[in-house]
């Protein structure tokens, strides 16, 4: 059907449209902001899901905006990997929005102890702004993964960045504002580095389209400039992706943001930096990446290895559980970058699958954290002792998600680590394989310690007595949907992995 190709663009455009409608609608109907946001995200999820059959048939979807043939116009290019990411983004954003309904609602009156009004809350005047930013964030990520033009990717990268700075700072108290400032201080120069690299690349190739760039960098007379622009581009994206040692902004930003936002940040926003690196390496810099990039990729590989170990050690040392989860993200990003740096198909498959696993599981972690904080106000791991007596559903969801993050068979986390280790062994990097295993052991330490505290220890004196029970259904159900999805991913892997493997193979061939 002719109309169906437009599903490539309409998720993004509709989300932006509804995002600017929300401030107008809330002038009259103050409570329509969340339903509008939820509907828009549901629509984009449905449209993204519709992409999959089309892409299975033809390999990729190429949409020419303005009907200009590339490279004269901007091209949207979605392969199976891109479509999968779009579905993941829409789904997690939808779940987080539903969760946000009660999380960002103003606290009840003084006498009501059922909903603890913690500093992560914000003034009710900011609610429509929260949902607008939410939708624009989702639109920017969809636009980023769908784009086939490098400058277009930059614009969406900056759009995503602005939304995430604002959402980290939205509580308005001291710590989130400081965390947002730190985030901006590292991220904005990184964006400038990306733009600089795009300028260098343009000056020696004359085009901005990724497929066109792939041809032109292969036969360019300016190979050194191409190399240097690649390094600068990777450094810029690495800051956004929080690859060690450029991860410094992440722990504060992810732990001080409101919990649904922390979930989005750790699950999706940092993955955009990673996706940018991978997309650019396999298309615009394809030839260089496959043949000459050994030195650079070696450094990246070692940085990833250090990220795994450092992230795990820091996670174990933390006292606050949101900080622990943030360092866990640093560690898992190490896994994904390691798989990429090995330049092996199996390892890259493991990486991409891990992107999905970690997104679902870490989002579930942060939503559990939000439930605990909003019901009890406790933020440290020690206070979690005995939590399962009052909040069994939340703690069970956390336990399930941690199975996946650690990589216990037969969960999806085990599958992704299996592929990563196979990739390491087949390229001869036995030490890296050992690091991945060690990382899993350390992840088990910090995850299962929390589970042990929650289920097998009595509450400390005086704590948890005033907590009346689980959170509202609109918060618990999304959390459980994520936990279930994490498990389900392990069961449907036989359905997801083959097309993913094909998509990665086609990446290698330089599509």
């Amino acid at each position: 059907m002719e109309l169906s190709q437009h599903v490539a663009i309409y998720p993004i455009v509709t989300l932006l449209f509804v995002a600017v409608l929300i401030p107008i609608v809330t002038l009259r109907k103050k409570n329509w902001d969340m339903p509008l946001a939820g509907l828009a995200l549901l629509l984009s999820l449905v449209l993204s899901a519709l992409l999959v059959p089309r892409i299975r048939a033809t390999g990729y979807l190429s949409y020419h905006l303005g009907s200009w043939e590339p490279p004269f116009g901007i091209e949207i290019r979605i392969d199976f990997l891109g479509a999968l990411m779009m579905i993941l983004i829409s789904a997690i954003c939808l779940i987080a929005v539903v969760y946000s309904k009660r999380y960002v609602a103003p606290g009840r009156s003084e006498g009501d102890k059922t909903f603890f009004f913690y500093a992560e809350q914000m003034e009710k005047g900011k609610r429509p702004v929260y949902y607008s930013l939410f939708l624009v964030l989702c639109a920017s990520m969809l636009g980023f993964v769908a784009s086939g033009d490098i400058f277009n990717m930059f614009v969406f990268l900056e759009l995503k960045a602005i939304c995430s700075y604002a959402l980290v700072a939205i509580p308005g108290t001291r710590l989130p504002v400081r965390a947002a400032i730190k985030y901006m201080l590292m991220s904005v120069p990184a964006a400038m580095l990306v733009l600089l690299a795009i300028g260098l690349l343009y000056s020696v190739t004359g085009t901005l389209n990724l497929a066109d760039l792939a041809e032109r960098t292969a036969s360019s007379d300016y190979a050194q400039v191409v190399t240097i622009s690649y390094v600068i581009l990777i450094v810029g994206f690495a800051v956004k992706a929080a690859v060690f040692p450029l991860h410094i902004w992440l722990p504060d930003a992810h732990s001080k943001a409101p919990s649904p936002i922390s979930a989005l940040l750790s699950a999706l926003v940092v993955k955009m930096g990673l996706f940018g690196i991978i997309r650019v390496s396999y298309s615009a810099y394809g030839t260089y990446f496959h043949s000459d990039a050994n030195f650079v990729l070696n450094i990246v590989m070692w940085a990833a290895a250090i990220a795994i170990v450092y992230g795990a050690i820091m996670a174990i040392r933390q006292r606050e559980f949101k900080l622990m989860m943030a360092y866990g993200t640093v560690m898992n990003i190490g896994y994904i970058v390691l798989g990429f740096a090995l330049r092996d198909q199996t390892a890259l498959l493991g990486s991409m699958y891990h992107v999905m696993v970690h997104a679902l599981a870490k989002a579930c972690f942060f939503l559990c954290a939000g439930l605990i904080i909003s019901r009890s106000g406790y933020q440290t791991i020690d206070d979690l002792k005995g939590a399962s007596r009052k909040m069994p559903l939340t703690c069970a969801a956390f336990a399930l998600a941690s199975l996946a993050i650690v990589g216990i068979p037969p969960t999806s986390g085990f599958i992704s680590k299996w592929y990563l280790i196979s990739g390491c062994l087949s390229t001869g990097n036995i030490f890296m394989g050992a690091i991945i295993l060690a990382g899993s052991v350390m992840a088990a330490v910090y995850c299962f310690r929390v589970v042990y505290y929650m289920f097998f220890l009595p509450p400390s004196n005086g704590l948890w007595e005033e907590v009346t029970g689980e959170g509202p259904a609109s918060m618990v159900v999304p959390t459980w949907v994520l936990a279930a999805a994490t498990l389900a991913l392990g069961f449907v892997s036989s359905w997801v992995l083959p097309p993913l493997r094909d998509a990665i193979a086609s990446l290698q061939l330089g599509a």
């Binding site: 401030p23 005047g125 969406f156 604002a166």
Partner: protein
């Protein structure tokens, strides 16, 4: 110590960048890769294909209109971000001036500013509407509108200016940018082509040029109005009155 490390690092970065830049093709050379591939087509066929005399506007609105739409979204997001951090600047108490005093400017200054702002608004409208054929465009004109509002606020006080652009009006105006893109783009889809193609279904070929010009102007106006509204709103939000917002928050 930290200073020495920083200087070393920055010098190394400078050396690397200058080295890279020396390797680039010479500036201004017509044999450069940049002047070969895409640019000649834009320059030669731009006016007839894209429908603008100003080729940069043609690139911005037509060839790479999707980037411009994303850019407008960035502006909206930044505005939302400023609101998220500072509040929405809805109310203001009295006719307070920037310096907090209640002292008015003299009659001469006020009349001069009113005249000046009138001309500024006229100029910005001209810049927006002529943006497709002369240097100018929606962004430039919108910035000028914002400047006009800022001058009148500075000279005439909040009380007189802010109620003329209340929050509800600003919210509607800020949506016109994305709205214009959405509507124009969907018209393109309805007429059978891809998103953001400037055609209309069922129109003869001769009239297509007029249709295209009209749609371009709609988008320009949308961008101009939106940029002006965003600049105004950010200005009002940055000049927020902390006590007024505390009163609002308690409400």
């Amino acid at each position: 110590m930290r200073k020495i490390l920083a200087i070393l690092f920055v010098s190394a970065l400078a050396a690397l960048l200058i080295y890279t830049v020396a390797l680039l093709p010479p500036m201004g050379d017509s044999d450069n890769p940049t002047n070969q591939h895409i640019a000649p087509r834009y320059l030669e066929r731009g006016p007839e294909e894209a429908g603008t005399g100003n080729i940069v506007a043609g690139v911005l609105l037509n060839y790479r209109g999707y980037d411009t739409m994303a850019e407008v979204a960035v502006l909206s997001a930044a505005l939302a971000g400023v609101f998220a951090v500072l509040g929405r600047g809805k109310k203001r108490i009295g006719t307070t001036f920037i310096d907090g005093s209640g002292v008015e400017f003299s009659v001469v200054s006020r009349i001069a500013v009113i005249l000046l702002v009138s001309f500024i608004m006229l100029l910005s409208i001209q810049v927006i509407l002529q943006g497709t054929n002369m240097p100018g465009g929606g962004f430039q004109g919108g910035a000028a509108i914002g400047a006009g509002v800022m001058i009148s606020t500075l000279a005439l006080g909040f009380g007189r200016t802010q109620h003329r652009v209340p929050y509800s009006l600003r919210a509607i105006l800020e949506s016109t940018g994305i709205l214009a893109f959405f509507v124009v783009g969907t018209i393109g889809v309805v007429s059978g082509a891809n998103f953001l193609t400037y055609t209309l279904p069922g129109v003869s070929a001769q009239a297509q040029a007029i249709v295209r010009a009209a749609m371009l102007i709609i988008v320009e106006i949308g961008i101009g109005v939106m940029v002006g509204a965003v600049a105004t709103s950010v200005f009002f939000a940055l000049l927020r009155d902390k006590e007024a917002d505390d009163v609002e928050r308690a409400a």
